[in-house]
Symmetry: C2
Subunit: 243 residues, 2 copies
């Protein structure tokens, strides 16, 4: 009998933002597969389970190993943080299981962008675009085109992977590219380590964002022209009165 | 003593997609405020609570009533479905409470777009844009501009409020506007009543989407040029091999 793979988003980090559906799937799984940082976050939930932990950039082999276990008849949970479908493992897992009879069920989670937005107030309450600055899998020209399109059409912009050791100046480059389209006093927000230890957050102006030191655990939200500061919270009104 | 207002996203509909943090906030609340359809979905969780239920388009008065109760010292939960920060009540509530000492805490939830994406497979696994076709609060010209920008820059596009009785042809209009930018065979998906009774979902081609009968409980996802069908699931690969 074939097993099953749950592809699970466990939310930003804290247990109380994991859905019950995800918790139950983890509970009934024989095997848990994931990147170490994410399985560590839920270590107390997965003791006594068989673990498949592979490092970053070995996502394909993680999926293959998870699939092997399911082929043997085991129930497997493949863990992503946030939502498994937002820069997570859901797509790659379904691709890996293409020729297999193993069923893949994706269980949604609270993505980093939603968790960070809630921390900052209500910055996303209008149309928004989600863009990763990582050019490992996407050509930088395409990222640039998306940044410009989103800024020019006044989307609120949520930026994943704004920076890393190897890509230290990417956020600065992104800011320079869109600066012709965004007023320098537009409100922006950041949350680092959202819902994890050493969480930090703040609100700044777009003109300050290019010199902000982000890392790969930071999520950035660039408001639109209507985004305003209310009692230290970042709010984009739903309506466009007077705009 | 001032009370507190939790602004809560209860997820798409089913209890097991509500976070524990949201459930606990509801539990400790004296008063629950919300639009009837949403409070009905969690009716079993809120019996014995004081209820403030206002119809659609009375969101402002719902916030004011919730604030009044909190000013009296009560703990209040203002309920949105999905995530309260995505076309939800979070922004309006923070604006309404601007001059008050009452604390507003936004608790994130699984938004409709994430729940629908998981149902369809993994359509969002790359940069995406979220656009509402409702022109009640946004001029149609701005919606058109955003649709074109998102399609031209190859975002995956999630469409909220694709249609309603008064706006029966809006999805068709949106498709016509972006058709110069999107290959007619691009995969699209829909989920109606996601995680609720009478849930329906399906995958179709972009050329078929303009004649699809959506309603206000339907979420549409328009893939990008790399989105493909794998065992009846809609998948956008993370990488751009060969594109």
């Amino acid at each position: 009998m074939k097993g099953k793979i749950y592809c699970i988003g466990t939310g930003p980090g804290k247990d109380d933002l994991i859905s019950e559906r995800a918790l139950k799937a983890i509970e009934k799984s024989d095997v848990i597969a994931g990147y170490g940082v994410y399985t560590d976050l839920i270590a107390h939930l997965i003791k006594d389970k068989e673990l498949i932990v592979t490092p970053m950039k070995q996502e394909k082999s993680r999926c293959e190993k998870a699939l092997e276990k399911a082929e043997e008849g085991k129930t497997v949970s493949l863990i992503s943080s946030g939502d498994a479908g937002v820069y997570g493992m859901a797509g790659l897992l379904i691709e890996t299981a293409e020729k297999s009879d193993v069923e893949v069920e994706v269980i949604p989670g609270i993505s980093a962008v939603l968790a960070a937005a809630a921390k900052l107030g209500a910055p996303l309450t209008h149309d928004f675009a989600v863009i990763s600055l990582s050019d490992l899998l996407t050509p930088w020209e395409k990222i640039e085109k998306r940044l410009i399109a989103a800024a020019d059409a006044e989307f609120i912009i949520a930026v994943y992977n704004p920076s890393s050791k190897k890509r230290a100046d990417y956020l600065k480059r992104a800011c320079e590219i869109i600066s012709p389209y965004i007023n320098e006093n537009t409100l922006c927000g950041y949350v680092r380590n959202c819902e994890r230890e050493q969480e930090e957050k703040g609100i700044l102006l777009f003109k300050e964002l290019k010199d902000f030191q982000a890392d790969m655990f930071t999520l950035i939200i660039i408001g639109n022209s209507t985004t305003k500061l209310i009692k230290n919270q970042m709010v984009t009104p739903r309506g466009y009165k007077g705009l």
